[in-house]
Structures are given as structure tokens and as C-alpha cells.
């Protein structure tokens, strides 16, 4: 539960660290912007490229904070295939991967969806995991909890004899304990994708690595079709209600910038994000008065938070009395996702269409009259 | 008009009140002080002078026994009542950057001021007068950290005067004054006794000063019972001699002087009518000669304009005291 929230904040914090570079200048677009050359059929994700050759696939994972640099360069081929022409054999990854340690929910969630849960041997921060399947496997000892972020139990990891470890990179580099071992590490900066479909597209890489390419591609195409259909539906709405997002945290309110994941999704849902003019993909801390200045009259307020005991307007007000001054609060128009009760982090990446539908159903109820919310719904007063 | 200013009964002084088994510095003290009076507390260093003063002003708890101020037991007096009974002058000075002389003296009026501490007309007048008495009126706007030690001390004495208490207690006030300063201090303190009717109690290890100026002496020495009286009485009774009894130091009751006795006991007889007789005695004492009335080998007489030194059968003529002494010393081989 805590971990699920931490993921969002992880995003925010890592992004905030690059805030000065992120906001204020137009985002330095990746060098390879051209669809056809960039990563072959990878169309939305900018964090990695995947080029299919005759006998192998060439995967490059880019440094999200410096797109012209790479975090990893791999040659992926099935077991048994000869790859003598690759000079550095250490860069070869044999598929399907066995004994995966997935340190983040956005990694093992899609694996479960692909039906590859059997390949996972280790996860992190088990106490915060809600997924019933994973919990059962942890209790049965079929999965091992290797510890919390920044303090992984490396010995436990080594004892699992993992074939590969997926980790979340940060600007400082590989987490210290992991770098000293000889485990195969693959960075997984999917959460830094600013396009909802870009995040989903990482399932293709998972598909490649587990030998489930076809299934992964089909899955993605389904997601893409649904998402784009919904986006078209939303675009047909005549009005675009105003909306803003998030809350203050220990006195600082991080506001997603105009090219961020959230801003993109809100725009695709047919709403007008009041901070869309802020340049950048990350979040930037603003003074609450400044936020009020822009968002006081916004019609909707989107909040995603872990609330195992449920959430309410009085609770929000008690957190910070300034929240009560916003129109969206006064009019009880808070769009809420309880990350402790929904699979926001585990399934969220692969269900952007679901999130989009939820949002459209709120912004334009007449467009999706029979919709059943999965992630987001209006918080009841 | 005399009043019982201070009285103690079986007073045992020392540090460590409340702790187990501390031996007091001196045997229990019984004393009575009637004012007005000019009293000096004398004793060698470490005898407990400061301790006694702190105990009778309430700054230190007695180990045993009682102190009465103005007829009331010290224990029962509130800080305010004590403030009206006794004021102190110590050897420590504050180092605040901004305090001025007049500020410090004005603090002496604190026990009389109302809640906010703003002085009234009367208080201001008393402060002025106190500064005048101590001859520091011209310094009143100066910051005390810029004064000399002597001036600082006068400031604090002025403050004690402004406090208008029947008893003023001073701890080693003469300690860092130069000689004229010491005399000035003694005259000032006496003036306070005579003109203002105050009782002054001060401590000093400078015995010469104390013997010459104080009306009464309190003598304090480790292990020896407390003794008090006028300098003359104590000298005649031999108290002073025994109080400062150290080997090779003797006390001359006639002159109230101490002198070393490690030199040979030579005697010399002096004619009664010698000019500057006292000076000659002093010079002789310095060189180890004491006066005697008995027949002795050396004797001095005067026959204008020379001193005559008789050594047995021989007589030397000495025009001045220096020659006299030299002549005597020439006999020491």
C-alpha cells in the first residue's frame, strides 16, 4: 500500500530532481523522433527502442534524463540461437528469461497479465502489495520479498540466483548495492514515459524477453485501439471542463507540467488542464497561493492516493484547511483514485484505456452512459 | 543611636551545605555587630573571609548555626527583606557592552521601585548623591566596561550606597587599588559610617591597612576560634600575634608592625631623646636589631649634630642614619 503510493511519488521525486531541466525549457526531444527509424514498431514509448534483425532483436534503453545517452544496450535472442557475430557476448540476453526479480509493480503486474507469473522469483516491499495472487505466492514461499527501495537485501537476491533483475533507475545511477554484484540488471524506466500509451508499450519488451512477443503485441494493439477510440469520443465533446491535480505534500505542492503523463491523459479525456501551459514533462513545486490563483475556479480536482480506510471530504479538509477554498472541493467534484483499493500501480500501466474511460465518464457522462468505473470516480460527499 | 545589625550564633561556615560530613573551615562563630561601625575582617588567604561574608549576606547557606540580620533570623527573611538590610560589593564585574555607570548605580534602587522598574524623583536624587559621594558623577554616562578597575569598584560602591541599607559588606575592596586609592577608599567608607550612620564590614588581607583604619577587627584563621575587638585591644592582648603566628614572623605591639625574626637576635640600646627615633628603630629592625633597655654592647645616643654609636669602648660619629646603620653593619664580619 505504501509502496504503491511511493511509486507515484518516486515518479514525482525523480522527475522533480530534473525539474529545472524538465520545466522551463521545451523538452529536449529524443534524437530519434522519427517513427519509422525509432525502435522499429515502438511508436509511443521513448525510453527504449527495439529493432528486429534476422536472428536477434536489438534493444536499447535510453537514459530518461539525458535521452542521447543509453542505460542499456542488449541483443536478445532465444536460447540456442548462435550469435557469434556479436562482439561483446555479455550484452546478449537469452530468452525466455528465467528467475526474474521484479523490483517494481509496474514490472511484475504486466508479467502476470501475460501469464508469466511463474518466471518471477522475487519482488520488493511485499507488505504493500495488494494483489491476491502475489500475496498468496509470497505466503507459500514461491516468491521472495527482497526488501524495500534503497535497502534491498542483496544476499537474499543472490540466493535466489536470479537470471535478471529489473530495477528502477534514478539519476544517481544504479543503486549501490546492486551494482557491486554480477547479477544481470535491466533498468526499467517505464514510469518516466509521459504518454499513457508509451507506458503501456513497455509490455512489448516484456513480451520479447519472455517469449510472448505475439501475445504482448496483441495486447498492446488492443489497448491502443481502445485508447484512441475513447480519445476520439472525448474529442467530440463540445465543452472541456477545467481540472487540476494532486495535493500538497509536507508543504510543497508538486504540479505536473504541461507535457507530463497526467496532463496528456487529462487532455485526451477531453478536459482543460489548467496548468497545461507549464512547460515540461515533470512536476514542479508551486506556492499554494499561486496554485489557488489558477485553480480556484477549476471544476474538477483529480487526486490519487492510498486510503485503505477510505477517503472523504472532511479528511481532505483536515489535512490542510486551504483545500476548502477550491471550488472543486466546495462543489464536491473531486475525481479520486484509491491506490490502496485499486490496482493502480500493478495494472495501471496496461489499462490506460480504462483510466481514460473513467475520466471521460466523469467529464462527459453523456458520452459513456453505462460506464462502470475501475480506477477513478467522483468522491462521494 | 546604636542597633544590633548582625548577630551570629554557633555559625559554621563552609561549602557543601546539604552534603555529608563537611568540616567547617573555622570553629563555630559567635559574634555581635552593633552599628554604626567600621569593621574589617582580616585573616590570611584561605581562612574563609569570603565564605563568612557570603554566609552572612545570605548568598551561601551555613553548614550549621544561625545568622540574624537586624534582629531577625536570616533563614526567615525574603530576598526582598535582605535587599533592604544589606548590600554587597564584590570583586566581580559584569561585561555587558552597554551598561552605563548611572544604570548600575540606579540598580541599587531596585528594591524600592514599582513593577516596571521606572525610577521616581527620589530615586533619581539618591542615585545622583551616591555618585557624588564616590566622586564618579563625571563618569555617569560612561559604559562600565570602559572604566578602570578602581572606577568600576566605585560604581558598585555607589550602587550599594543607593541601595540605602544599614549594613554594607565589601569583599576585598582594596585588592586592586593603588596605594592612594586604598586610602581614598578607607576615607570614603569611614565617611559613610560617620556621616550616614552606616555599618561597614569589609574584608582584606592587607593587615597594615586594616590595623591603621578599622575601628574593629574580626580575625579569622583556620582552626582558631573567631576573635574580634579594636586593633589596639587585640594587639595588646597578643591576639594578633598569635593569629598570624608563622615561624620567623613576629608582631610588634607598639608599632603594630610585623617583622621577620630569622635574623640573629641582636640588641641595641637607644637613648630616649633620639631624633627620628622610630625611623632608627625601623632601620635597625630591618637589619635584625631590636631595642632593649638593658645594657648591651651597642648603643646609640645623640650629640648635635651627629648620632653617636657606642660599641663597647669605641664611639663613632655618624652624621645621618644611613652612616649609623653602615657602621653597625661593618661590625658584622
Amino acid at each position: 500500500m505504501k509502496y504503491l503510493l511511493s511509486n507515484t511519488l518516486q515518479i514525482i521525486i525523480c522527475a522533480a530532481l530534473a525539474a529545472f531541466a524538465g520545466c522551463g525549457n521545451p523538452s529536449h526531444s529524443n534524437v530519434e523522433n522519427d517513427d519509422s527509424t525509432q525502435g522499429g514498431h515502438i511508436r509511443y514509448a521513448r525510453g527504449f527502442s527495439m529493432i528486429q534483425h534476422d536472428d536477434h532483436a536489438e534493444v536499447v534503453i535510453f537514459n530518461p534524463w539525458h535521452r542521447s545517452d543509453t542505460l542499456g544496450h542488449y541483443f536478445v535472442a532465444p536460447k540456442g540461437a548462435a550469435l557469434d557475430h556479436i562482439s561483446d557476448q555479455r550484452l546478449v540476453i537469452r530468452t525466455p528469461l528465467e528467475r526474474i526479480i521484479a523490483l517494481s509493480a509496474t514490472q511484475w503486474g504486466p508479467l502476470i497479465t501475460l501469464g508469466e507469473v511463474g518466471r518471477i522469483v522475487g519482488v520488493s516491499e511485499g507488505r504493500f502489495i495488494n494483489d491476491t495472487l502475489v500475496r498468496r505466492l509470497l505466503n507459500e514461499g514461491k516468491l521472495t520479498d527482497v526488501g524495500g527501495e534503497e535497502r534491498y537485501d542483496v544476499e537474499k537476491m543472490l540466493r535466489l540466483e536470479p537470471g535478471v533483475v529489473f530495477y528502477s533507475p534514478n539519476p544517481a545511477g544504479v543503486p549501490a548495492q546492486l551494482g557491486y554484484t554480477r547479477m544481470n540488471l535491466i533498468p526499467w524506466p517505464d514510469y518516466l514515459e509521459n504518454h499513457p500509451l508509451g507506458r503501456a508499450e513497455w509490455v512489448k519488451l516484456l513480451g520479447l524477453l519472455t517469449g510472448k512477443d505475439t501475445e504482448a503485441n496483441h495486447l498492446f494493439e488492443h489497448i491502443e485501439t481502445e485508447y484512441l477510440t475513447l480519445k476520439r469520443i472525448a474529442a467530440s465533446a463540445k465543452e472541456r471542463p477545467t481540472v487540476f491535480s494532486d495535493k500538497a505534500f509536507a508543504g510543497q505542492w508538486y504540479v505536473p507540467c504541461g507535457q507530463s503523463y497526467l496532463a496528456t491523459m487529462l487532455a485526451d479525456a477531453g478536459s482543460d488542464y489548467v496548468f497545461s501551459s507549464l512547460e515540461g514533462e515533470a512536476s514542479v513545486p508551486l506556492d499554494i497561493e499561486a496554485i489557488f490563483g489558477k485553480a480556484a475556479l477549476a471544476q474538477y480536482w483529480r487526486i490519487a492516493q492510498a486510503a485503505p480506510e477510505g477517503y472523504s471530504y472532511p479528511q481532505i479538509l483536515a489535512e490542510n484547511e486551504f483545500y476548502g477554498t477550491f471550488d472543486a472541493f466546495k462543489n464536491h467534484r473531486i475525481i479520486f483514485c484509491n491506490t490502496a483499493k485499486t490496482a493502480y500501480f500493478e495494472k495501471g500501466n496496461l489499462e490506460p484505456h480504462q483510466m481514460l474511460a473513467d475520466l471521460i465518464a466523469i467529464f462527459h457522462p453523456q458520452l459513456l452512459p453505462d460506464h462502470q468505473p475501475v480506477f477513478y470516480q467522483l468522491l462521494e460527499p | 543611636m546604636s542597633a544590633m545589625i548582625l548577630r551570629t550564633h554557633s555559625l559554621a561556615i563552609g561549602y557543601g551545605h546539604g552534603k555529608l560530613e563537611t568540616t567547617p573551615l573555622v570553629p563555630p562563630i559567635h559574634l555581635e555587630l552593633q552599628g554604626p561601625a567600621f569593621v574589617a575582617l582580616a585573616g590570611v588567604n584561605g581562612a574563609g573571609k569570603s565564605t563568612l561574608l557570603k554566609t552572612i549576606t545570605g548568598l551561601l547557606q551555613p553548614l550549621a548555626g544561625e545568622v540574624e540580620l537586624n534582629g531577625k533570623p536570616l533563614k526567615t527573611l525574603s530576598a526582598h527583606e535582605i535587599a533592604l538590610s544589606v548590600s554587597i560589593v564584590l570583586t566581580e564585574f559584569p561585561d555587558d557592552l552597554f551598561l552605563r555607570v548611572e544604570d548600575v548605580v540606579a540598580m541599587g534602587r531596585y528594591p524600592y521601585l514599582e513593577f516596571w522598574g521606572r525610577p521616581g524623583e527620589d530615586d533619581r536624587r539618591i542615585v545622583e548623591k551616591s555618585m557624588e559621594l564616590c566622586n564618579i558623577s563625571h563618569l555617569k554616562g560612561r559604559r562600565i566596561i570602559s572604566l578602570s578597575d578602581g572606577e568600576k569598584q566605585k560604581t558598585f560602591i555607589a550602587k550599594a550606597i543607593a541601595q540605602d541599607t544599614p549594613l554594607i559588606v565589601l569583599d576585598e575592596p582594596a585588592a586592586f587599588l593603588d596605594y592612594p586609592g586604598k586610602l581614598e577608599l578607607m576615607y570614603l567608607l569611614r565617611k559613610l559610617v560617620v556621616e550616614q550612620g552606616k555599618t561597614i564590614l569589609f574584608s582584606s588581607h592587607d593587615l597594615d591597612l586594616v590595623l591603621r583604619h578599622a575601628d574593629r577587627l574580626w580575625l579569622l584563621a583556620p582552626g582558631i576560634p573567631f576573635v574580634e575587638g579594636s586593633p589596639e585591644k587585640l594587639a595588646v592582648e597578643g591576639q594578633i600575634a598569635s593569629f598570624f603566628n608563622r615561624r620567623q614572623i613576629a608582631f610588634d605591639t607598639q608599632t603594630l608592625h610585623f617583622y621577620q625574626t630569622n635574623q640573629t637576635d641582636n640588641t641595641i640600646r637607644l637613648a630616649p631623646d633620639l631624633p627620628y627615633r622610630k625611623l632608627i628603630i625601623n632601620a635597625l629592625a630591618r637589619n635584625g636589631y631590636t631595642e632593649t633597655n638593658e645594657i648591651s654592647w651597642f648603643s646609640i645616643s645623640f650629640s648635635k649634630p651627629d648620632y653617636l654609636l657606642h660599641c663597647g669602648e669605641i664611639t663613632h660619629k655618624c652624621p645621618d642614619i644611613d652612616t649609623l646603620i653602615q657602621q653597625i653593619k661593618s661590625y658584622e664580619t
Binding site: F249, P285, E289 | -
Partner: protein, 349 residues
């Protein structure tokens, strides 16, 4: 060479005017640009009409300005009394470890609540801001009680000062351990709290906070006379009728209380408690608390308001942490002041 001390009344009037000026500026300037005429209209309404501008002024700017003013005044007073009590010009409200106690309270809360502000509130069913404030206050008060108890057991202020510093070290160490076991977000929350902020007190919390601080400042007036006497030394003060032990105790209580309440609501605000008493002494050329107390109140409040203003200048949509501003602006100012008045520090003049 005689040097008359400056007459205080004109200076007090001048400082009051300065204070009012900064207060008004804090109302008219902020991260949102509002035309002055609008603000004037809003103020004339005397209450929040619900419009956006009105809300900004009444819910955000007024509480912030009042909080800054009271915090600055309270801390300056606490600093002044600390310096007198300990006869140490480097003493400030944090010297007794009270703000460290507040930090410890916050650190422990963040550690044991398990997480960032979000699930903290959900799990513990406590509101984030309130629980932070309560934790800070609890930590501060605990240390304060310990210190006052110590002050009766220890013979003099120097030992108490050393004890206080040791307490500060211990609490810092405990905070370090708590930090070590905390998650990233909690660390960040703790760091952010530690930067100080005047904007966490909203209109609903303002009355309680103001009352408490004003009570503390009022109580401090009762100590003016005895503390003046302590300037020449505790022995002389005792001889002049001051109950030194009682004065010590109450001074500690008052300054500790002020520090605790302000740290609880605004975080540990640095620098004001240390520097303002010195500024006041230089401005008024006196050591008398009768003048320095109002002086510190005025200068402290003005300085806090000025720093708050700088932290939220329009055009700077973020807000800089208060502690950074107070030290950055304040320290050079003090140095300049000292240089300008260095003749006051010569001892032989």
C-alpha cells in the same frame, strides 16, 4: 568621553512604522498578482466574501502575515532572554535543544506512520498538518520539561547550557537514526518541514496560535525587571532581592514555550532568535530589557515579514524555504550592522 544612549521613543515609532509597512506589503504582494485596488476593496469588506481575490487575501495572505509577525516576535524575545540567562551572546532559542525536540517528534511521526502524508492520514486517521504540529509540539515540550527539571538540579547556567547542547546532540542523533530507517518520501517531508514555513497556519488555526504566542510574549514582560538585574551578575541580583532560581525557571519556561509553539506551527525557523537581539542592542545602544523587549518584538516581526515577502515574490511561482531566506538576508545584514557600529564594541572607549 561620554556617550548618551539614544532616546528610545522615536526609534520605537520608526520600527513600528516599518513593521506596518512590511505587513501591508505582505498583503499586497504574493505569488498571484492582484491589483492593489482589488486588495483594498477586499480589505474593506472586513471578511471573506468568497471571491477568488477575497479568499487569497483572507485565507492565504492574512494568516501568513500574522503568523510571520508573531513567529518573528516570539523567537526574537526567546532569543533575547536566552542570551541574558546564559550570559552568552551566541545563545538562541535552539540552544536548549527544544527545536531539536520538535524535529525529533516530527521525524518519529513520519517514521512510524509508515509513509508519506497520504496514507499517514488514512492509516492513522489524523490530518497531516495537525499531526505534524502535534508531534512537533509534543517533542518540544518534552525537552522543555526535561530542561526545566534539570535547571533546578544544576547549580548554574553554564552547566545548563552544556546540558542543553548535549540534548540537542542526542536528539539530532536520534533524528538521524529515524531518517536512516525512513522512506524517501518521509525524508523529503522531514527536510521540507525543517526548512520552516509561515504558510501552514490557516485562518482556522490562527486564533489559537496567536493567543498562545501573545500569552508567551505577555508573560515575558513580567521578567523584564529581574532580568535587567541579572545583567550585573546573579549574586548582585540576588542581593537586590531577585529570586534567582525562580527567575531562571520562569524564563526558561516562557522562552521554551514560545520556541515550542512557534516551532510546532512554523517549523524550526533559524537565525531570527540569534540575530535580532543583537540588532536591537546596536539600534537602541542599551542592554536594558525594558527597551530591548519591545525592540526585539518589532525588529523580529519586521524581519520575519520581510523574509516571508522575499520567499514568495511574484514571478517566483515557487516558494523558497523560510530558513534559507532568513539566514541569507539576515546574516549579511548583521555583519554590516556590526561593521557600521564597530566603535560600540571597543572596550576602552
Amino acid at each position: 568621553m561620554s556617550e548618551a544612549s539614544l532616546r528610545p521613543l522615536p526609534l520605537i515609532l520608526l520600527l513600528t512604522t516599518l513593521l506596518l509597512l512590511f505587513f501591508v506589503l505582505n498583503l499586497f504582494l504574493g505569488s498571484v498578482v492582484i491589483p492593489p485596488k482589488e486588495i483594498w476593496t477586499v480589505l474593506l469588506q472586513h471578511s471573506d466574501s468568497g471571491s477568488a481575490y477575497s479568499q487569497i487575501v483572507y485565507q492565504y495572505r492574512i494568516p501568513q502575515a500574522v503568523t510571520a509577525m508573531l513567529s518573528g516576535a516570539g523567537l526574537a524575545v526567546a532569543g533575547l532572554y536566552m542570551q541574558t540567562l546564559f550570559r552568552n551572546p551566541l545563545a538562541d532559542p535552539s540552544v536548549l535543544g527544544i527545536s531539536s525536540g520538535a524535529s525529533l517528534g516530527v521525524a518519529l511521526l513520519l517514521l512510524f506512520s509508515g509513509s508519506a502524508a497520504g496514507s499517514l492520514m488514512a492509516a492513522a486517521n489524523l490530518a497531516g498538518q495537525t499531526s505534524l504540529m502535534l508531534a512537533a509540539f509534543a517533542g518540544a515540550v518534552l525537552i522543555l520539561l526535561f530542561i526545566t527539571w534539570l535547571s533546578r538540579a544544576l547549580p548554574d547556567m553554564v552547566s545548563l547550557l552544556i546540558a542543553g547542547m548535549m540534548i540537542a546532540y542526542v536528539t539530532s542523533a536520534l533524528v538521524g537514526i529515524a531518517k536512516y530507517f525512513s522512506q524517501k518520501e518521509d525524508l523529503q517531508a522531514f527536510v521540507l518541514w525543517g526548512m520552516g514555513s509561515f504558510s501552514n497556519v490557516g485562518l482556522s488555526r490562527l486564533p489559537f496560535f496567536s493567543t498562545m504566542v501573545l500569552l508567551g510574549i505577555l508573560a515575558s514582560f513580567f521578567l523584564v525587571k529581574p532580568l535587567n538585574l541579572m545583567l550585573i551578575g546573579e549574586r548582585y541580583a540576588a542581593n537586590l532581592g531577585v529570586n534567582v532560581k525562580k527567575v531562571r525557571f520562569y524564563s526558561l519556561l516562557v522562552t521554551g514555550f514560545l520556541t515550542a509553539i512557534i516551532t510546532a506551527y512554523a517549523g524550526p525557523v533559524a537565525f531570527i532568535g540569534l540575530a535580532v537581539p543583537h540588532l536591537a542592542r546596536i539600534v537602541f545602544r542599551t542592554g536594558s530589557h525594558l527597551i530591548l523587549l519591545p525592540g526585539c518584538i518589532l525588529i523580529g516581526a519586521s524581519m520575519a515579514l520581510a523574509c516571508n515577502l522575499l520567499a514568495r515574490l511574484p514571478g517566483l511561482d515557487g516558494n523558497l524555504p523560510v530558513n534559507a531566506i532568513t539566514s541569507l538576508i539576515g546574516a549579511p545584514m548583521v555583519i554590516w550592522f556590526i561593521l557600521k557600529h564597530k566603535h560600540l564594541f571597543h572596550r576602552n572607549v
